[in-house]
C-alpha cells in the first residue's frame, strides 16, 4: 500500500535518473543513514561496535570492490585478499617511511598501490576468461602473500613479520575507541558505496555490464574491452586495498600477511555470491551474512546445547551449514539476497494486485 510509484510522475529525465527515483526509497535511505550514524552509536555496546560492526563494514568494502570486478564487469577473482594485503602494507609502509603523512592519505596510497597491482594481474583477463582468469588471480594471491612474508622490508624489519598500525589521529582527535573507529569506517564505506553506485549507473558501469553480458556485442558497439576490463580491475582493487588498510589499521591493529590468505579471498567471493552479484546492497547483505553466521552458530550452538556438544562438533557443523547455505543460495536465487529484496519490493509495489 505504502510502497508506490503511483502519482510520482517524473517531469524530467533528470529526476528519473536521480540515484533513487522512488520517493519511499529516498526516505528509506535517509532512515538507514540516520540509523547507522545516530541510533547504532547510541545503543550498540563496544562488543558490537568493535568486533562485529567494524569488521563487517571493512569486509563489506572489500566485497564491494570484488563486486565491481565480478558482479559488474564479470571478471572472477580469487585474489581479493592479496589486493587487500597490498593496500594494508602499502599504507603501513608509507606511514613508517614518512611519519608526518596523515593516515587517510596513507589509506588512499594503499588503495592506489592495490589498484596498480590489480591492473597488473588483470592483464591476463584480456586473453583468458572464467576460472582460467581465477587462476591468474590465485597466482596473485600466493605470490603477494609470499612477498610480504618473505621480504622484511615490507614489515619494516619487525622480528615477527607482523605490522603494527601507527596510532590514528584525525583533526587532532585520536581514533582509538570502538565508537570513533566505527564512525571512521562507516563514513569511508558509505562514501565508497555512493561512488560505486554512481559509476554503476553511468557510462562506465554500462560498459562493464556490457562486457560482462556479451563481450562480442560490446565490442561491436565500440566498447574497448581492454580499457574497460582493466578499469574494472583498477577500481575493484582500489576498494579492496582500502578495505585491507582498514582491516590492518582499524579492525585488527596488527596483521601478519597470513591475515590475507586465500581463505579470506574465498570468504569475500561468497559474500558477493550470497549477497548478490552486481549490486551495491548485495555486498553489504553478503558481508553481514558471512560475518554473523559463524558467530551466530558459535553462540546459538553453545546456547542451545548448553555446552553438551563440544565446540569442535559445532565448528564442523558450521562448515557444513556454510557450504549448504552457499549452494542453497546459488540454487534458489543465483542473484543473491539483493535480488530477493528486489523481488520483494516489486511485489510490494503492485500489492495488493497480483500483477
Amino acid at each position: 500500500m505504502f510502497y508506490r510509484e503511483a502519482g510520482q510522475f517524473k517531469t524530467s529525465y533528470k529526476k528519473d535518473q536521480s540515484i533513487l527515483p522512488i520517493f519511499q526509497d529516498r526516505i528509506a535511505m535517509v532512515a538507514m543513514l540516520i540509523f547507522c550514524f545516530i541510533v547504532i552509536p547510541l545503543f550498540a555496546n563496544d562488543y558490537w561496535l568493535a568486533s562485529i560492526l567494524v569488521p563487517f563494514l571493512a569486509l563489506s568494502l572489500a566485497a564491494l570492490g570484488l563486486n565491481v570486478l565480478t558482479g559488474y564487469a564479470g571478471q572472477i577473482s580469487l585474489g581479493t585478499a592479496a589486493f587487500m594485503a597490498v593496500g594494508a602494507f602499502a599504507a603501513f609502509n608509507l606511514q613508517v617511511r614518512v611519519p608526518e603523512i596523515p593516515f587517510l592519505i596513507a589509506f588512499l596510497w594503499g588503495g592506489f598501490c592495490a589498484a596498480g597491482v590489480g591492473i597488473l594481474f588483470g592483464l591476463p583477463s584480456l586473453r583468458i576468461k572464467g576460472f582460467y582468469l581465477a587462476v591468474a588471480t590465485l597466482a596473485a594471491q600466493f605470490f603477494i602473500e609470499w612477498l610480504f612474508t618473505h621480504f622484511d622490508w615490507f614489515t619494516n624489519y619487525s622480528t615477527s613479520g607482523v605490522i603494527t598500525a601507527p596510532p590514528m589521529t584525525l583533526l587532532g582527535m585520536a581514533i582509538d575507541n570502538p565508537l570513533s573507529k566505527y564512525f571512521l569506517v562507516l563514513s569511508i564505506v558509505v562514501i565508497c558505496a555512493f561512488f560505486v553506485r554512481n559509476l554503476a549507473r553511468s557510462e562506465i558501469g554500462r560498459a562493464w555490464m556490457a562486457v560482462r553480458d556479451m563481450d562480442i556485442a560490446a565490442e561491436a558497439i565500440g566498447i574497448n574491452l581492454m580499457k574497460t576490463k582493466l578499469l574494472a580491475f583498477g577500481v575493484s582493487s582500489f576498494l579492496c586495498g582500502l578495505a585491507g588498510a582498514l582491516w590492518a589499521y582499524v579492525v585488527l591493529g596488527t596483521v601478519e600477511p597470513q591475515a590475507f590468505d586465500i581463505a579470506r579471498s574465498f570468504e569475500i567471493l561468497f559474500m558477493i555470491v550470497i549477497g548478490g552479484l552486481g549490486s551495491v546492497s548485495g555486498a553489504f547483505l553478503g558481508a553481514g551474512f558471512m560475518i554473523l553466521l559463524p558467530i551466530l552458530l558459535n553462540n546459538v550452538g553453545s546456547l542451545i546445547t548448553g555446552g553438551t556438544i563440544s565446540t569442535e562438533t559445532i565448528a564442523h557443523i558450521e562448515y557444513m551449514v556454510f557450504g549448504a547455505f552457499i549452494i542453497f543460495f546459488l540454487i534458489v536465487e543465483p542473484n543473491g539476497l539483493a535480488r530477493l529484496w528486489q523481488t520483494g519490493k516489486e511485489k510490494l509495489r503492485l500489492w495488493p494486485f497480483p500483477y
Partner: protein
Amino acid sequence: MSKFLSSVVSFIVFFVVSIAIAGEHFVPITSYRTGPYGVSGAPAANGYVDYLKMINARDGGVGGVKLAWEECETAYKPDRFVECYERLKNKGEAGATVFQPLGTGLTYSVIDRLAADKVPLITMGYGRTDASDGSVFPWVFPLMANYWSISTAKIKFIGEQVGGMDKLKGLKIANVYHDSAYGKETLPVLLKQAEKYGFELKGFPVAHPGLDQKATWLNVRRFKPDYVVLRGWGVMNQTSIKEAARARIPANKLVGVIWSCSELDTVPAGKAAIGYNCSSLINPGSNYRVFDDILKYVYDAGEGTGEKEEVGHQQNYKMGVLMGIMTVESINKATEKYGNKPMSGEQVRWGIENLDLNKARLQEMGIDGFIPTFKVSCSDHEGSAPVKFQKWNGKEFEPASDWIATDQSIIRPMIEASASGYAKEKGITPGCN
C-alpha cells in the same frame, strides 16, 4: 530467508540479555578445534578444560569460589580470536581473568587492547618475544620461556650432544622453518649465537602448509648439516621428519621446537621419528598426581572432555593442562591478595606477576617434576624457566636431557632493545610499579 532473520533476532536477543555468570572466576577459553591446526588445538583445549573441571571438583574452585569458563572457537584466525576476545572479556561477575590465545598471530592481534581492557595475557612458549620485558608489556606474560630463550637452550642442548659448547665451532646447523611470522621469529637470535659459538647457520624456509618439502630437504642435504633445528607447525612437522629420513639425515640430529614436539608430529612419521629430539616446557611421562586427579575427579565422574587415553600422555593435552595450571595458580595468587571473591583481570595480572612456583608449591599442586620451578617478576615476565628436551622412542617421549637453563645474557639485551623500540613507537613510559 525468514529463518535467517529469526535466528539473527534470537542472536541479538541473546546478546542483549547475556546473563553474567555470577559469583565465579570467569576463565575465557579461546581454542581452535577446526581447520588445519585443529589437530593440535583440540587436545590442548581438552587439557585446559579438564584441569579447570578437576579444580572445581577437587577443591571446589579457587579460594572457595568456583571456576566458570566459556569456550570460543577461533579456528586459529586472528579476526575470529579478536571477536572471541571482545565477546568474553567482560563476561562473568568480575570480567575475564586471563586469556591464553595459543597462537602467535592471535597474540599480536590483541596486545594493543589489553591495557585499555585491563585483561592479562599468558602466552607460554609462543607470542611476542620482547613481551618478556614486563616494564613495557605489563599485561603480557610469555611465561616460563619465550621463543628466543628456548632457542638458546636448544643450542646448549646441541652443545651437550657434541660434548661442550666449544665443540660447536665449525659445526653446520640448518634451520628449517615454517615460512611465516612464527617461523622467522628465531632467526636473529640464532644468528647471534652463530657468531658467538662460531657455527655455520643456514636457513631453509618451508612454504605453508608444507605438504611437499622434497626440494627444501634436497637443499638441506646439499648443505650437509651436522644438526637440523626444526621450527615447524602443524602438518609441516611430520613431513619434515620423514623428508629428513629420506635425505638420510638421522632423526637424532633433528632438534624440534616446542611446537614440533608432539605425537601428532612423530607418530605419522613412523620409524623415521625414532630418536627425534625436541624442546619442551614440560617433562615427559604421565606419573604426576595432577593427571591421576583429573582421571579420578573428572573422567571417573564421566565428565571428561576428550578421550581418556589422552590424559597425561598426549603432549598437546599436557600443554593444555599446563595452561590450566598457570591460569588457576595466577587466580589463586590473586585471591591471596584480594580475598576470596571472583577475581578481575587486573587482580589476576598481579597474581601472574607474583607467581612463585617453588618446589614446595609444585609438590602441593602435584606437578613436582612435571614443570621446573620458576619465579615471575615485573622486569622478567618470563620467569626464565629452564627447558626440557625430549626424545621420541617410537612409542612415547622420554627425557633426552636435564632441565637446561636458557642463556639470558644473549637475549636479554635484544629483548630490551626491541621492547624499548615498541615503547617509543607506542609512547609507553617503561617502568615497574
